[in-house]
């Protein structure tokens, strides 16, 4: 099968973000950026399927500014065969991303599209489901297990009560959860090799879809901050605190 894996460049998940004083957003200038962690699990899943002989080609795609070519390079270093950067400056919402990806799917004709279940910047958790809706393909979201069967895939999903396993025919959309696999670290020689792999850049406007934002962000504010409370001196003091709270709740 042929696999398309969609990735997003975000503020590195280890960075403690800062809300701009004027409430216009989160500071992203001079902040370390990297591939969204969930997308790394999606790339790893695609590369593992290729290594096991289930996939003939893995194409990585990202939608974003020119600088997003660095996350595509990471995906190529992890083992993707070629990259596509759909060049779009400014904010593109999940619906716009899904529409652009649907066009890329038309061109590339993959059997499986892998995505991260959510991006750690907007925490939207929408794009994979939207792409499945636009293509009328089956979707298996929040995947923590993925196996190839004769007639498609067997996907284990993380759900409210535990896990549930589904049979999904191809073509399909799968979104990766964190326990799907352990993404590999890439050594320098793999990065050097990745630089020689094809990386196409194409303007988003050339796909002829409307990806203008539908949502206006009015303000961004920091959440209420919690202050450190009391350090207790003994287990007895802790018993008093907990028993007091429980009694107050039951009153």
């Amino acid at each position: 099968m042929k696999i398309l894996v969609a990735i997003k460049r975000v503020v590195d998940h280890n960075v403690r973000i800062r809300v701009k004083a004027d409430g216009s957003g989160v500071e992203t200038d001079n902040v370390r950026m990297s591939m969204n962690p969930f997308c790394r699990h999606a790339v790893e899943a695609a590369v593992e399927l290729a290594e096991r002989g289930h996939a003939t080609e893995v194409v990585a795609v990202s939608i974003g500014p020119q600088k997003a070519d660095d996350v595509l390079l990471s995906a190529l270093a992890m083992g993707a065969d070629r990259g596509l950067l759909v060049l779009a400056e400014g904010r593109v919402e999940p619906l716009g991303v899904a529409k652009l990806l649907a066009k890329v799917v038309e061109d590339e004709k993959p059997d499986l599209v892998l995505l991260g279940k959510q991006a750690v910047d907007d925490d939207a958790n929408q794009t994979g489901q939207m792409l499945a809706g636009l293509l009328d393909w089956p979707q298996a979201t929040f995947a923590s297990g993925l196996a190839v069967r004769a007639d498609g895939l067997e996907v284990t999903r993380e759900v409210d009560f535990g896990r549930a396993t589904y049979a999904v025919g191809l073509p399909a959309i799968v979104t990766a959860d964190l326990r799907l696999n352990t993404p590999r670290n890439v050594a320098l020689p793999m990065v050097m090799k990745a630089k020689k792999k094809p990386l196409e850049v194409r303007p988003a406007e050339s796909y002829g879809v409307d990806f203008a934002p539908r949502i206006t962000v009015e303000t961004v504010a920091p959440p209420p901050q919690r202050q450190q409370g009391e350090i207790l001196g003994s287990v007895d003091a802790l018993v008093d605190v907990i028993a007091g709270r429980v009694a107050a709740m039951e009153a």
């Binding site: 619906l95 279940k117 958790n125 979707q139 589904y166 025919g169 949502i215 920091p222 209420p224 009391e230």
Partner: protein, 314 residues
């Protein structure tokens, strides 16, 4: 126009989060219809009908509707959409799965994980693991939402709405349910529990994690875990609290051997009182706790459990 809420239920029981979503949506000032989909959902539909603020319960029932996939569920919602200004679901597995798919079918941008409703098209939602809150205005109709239940109180149970069957077409699922792996437990629902006891990777083993469960049992509490503890296999995935697990807002949160990674703190911001038991006084969780005890959890927790057992007479 009215508001349609897709209701979560599990093994025939309405999920407690639904009452919170009803309370949240009441702010829109419109009639609320609740849609219950599945097989054997009679008592869940009755429970929904009793929630204050619900004007009608729609019941889509049949063998094929049990474990229905996102495609079929989105198609059902799409057929009902013309009658509604807003379509909402709880921000849990089902709602997160189906609402964006429906949004793409209707060509609208959904607002997910809503924590405050200002008016018909202005909402607050957390971004960056709850380290920032954005206020957004959405264009287009209908407005599609997922509601974070921990951000809202629960609707009362004084209602008596009518329950009506809804014409649900044939199910054409693309993803077929095979088997479930259910965590066996008789503890309260983690997403809505008023007391939660959580353990971190410092517990060191599944066996040691039972200490957390014993303390939770004494307090009638739900059990939570950090991502590291789940990844290590000490606790099942549905106990995970945090950005990518469950976001909770209990009255009392007791964190044991939990250092407080950013993504875990994101899941407990709304807790009223936080208690930390940790060896490290500099742990991020200790820094935001209302009460902290610095000490070895393997000594503190058994002593605490037996003292509380006596004090609370359990």
């Amino acid at each position: 126009m009215a508001v349609l809420l897709l209701a979560d239920h599990d093994r025939g029981q309405l999920t407690p989060s639904v009452a919170r979503a009803v309370k949240a949506l009441a702010a829109l000032g419109q009639p609320i219809d609740v849609l219950v989909v599945g097989a054997g959902v009679g008592s869940a539909a009755e429970a929904a009908a009793q929630l204050d603020g619900v004007s009608r319960v729609l019941r889509a029932e049949g063998a094929g509707w049990d474990n229905v996939d996102a495609k079929s569920l989105a198609a059902l919602l799409e057929s009902l959409a013309p009658d509604y200004s807003h379509i909402a679901a709880v921000a849990a597995a089902m709602g997160r799965d189906v609402i964006p798919r429906l949004a793409a079918r209707l060509d609208v941008m959904p607002v997910t994980d809503v924590v405050a409703i200002h008016d018909a098209n202005r909402f607050d939602r957390p971004i960056y693991a709850g380290n920032a809150i954005e206020t957004v205005r959405v264009e287009g109709a209908p407005v599609l939402l997922t509601i974070r239940p921990s951000a809202f109180g629960a609707a009362g149970k004084g209602g008596s709405a009518a329950v009506e069957p809804v014409a649900a077409g044939p199910v054409e699922s693309l993803a077929h349910f095979l088997v479930e792996h259910r965590t066996q437990s008789d503890v309260p629902d983690l997403a809505t529990a008023s007391v939660v006891v959580s353990g971190g990777v410092a517990l060191g083993s599944t066996h040691n994690f039972e200490m957390i469960e014993r303390l939770a049992h004494v307090l009638g509490a739900a059990v939570g875990a950090t991502r590291a503890a789940v990844d290590a296999g000490y606790a099942p995935n549905d106990w995970q609290v945090g950005q990518t697990g469950k976001v909770i807002a209990p009255d009392l949160y007791i964190a044991i051997g939990v250092s407080g990674a950013l993504q875990h703190l994101a899941g407990i911001q709304g807790a009223k009182t936080i208690v930390a038991i940790n060896t490290d006084p500099e742990a991020p969780l200790v820094k935001i706790a209302d009460y902290a005890l610095i000490g070895d959890l393997f000594e503190v927790v058994p002593a605490l459990t037996s003292a509380l057992e006596k004090r609370l007479g359990r």
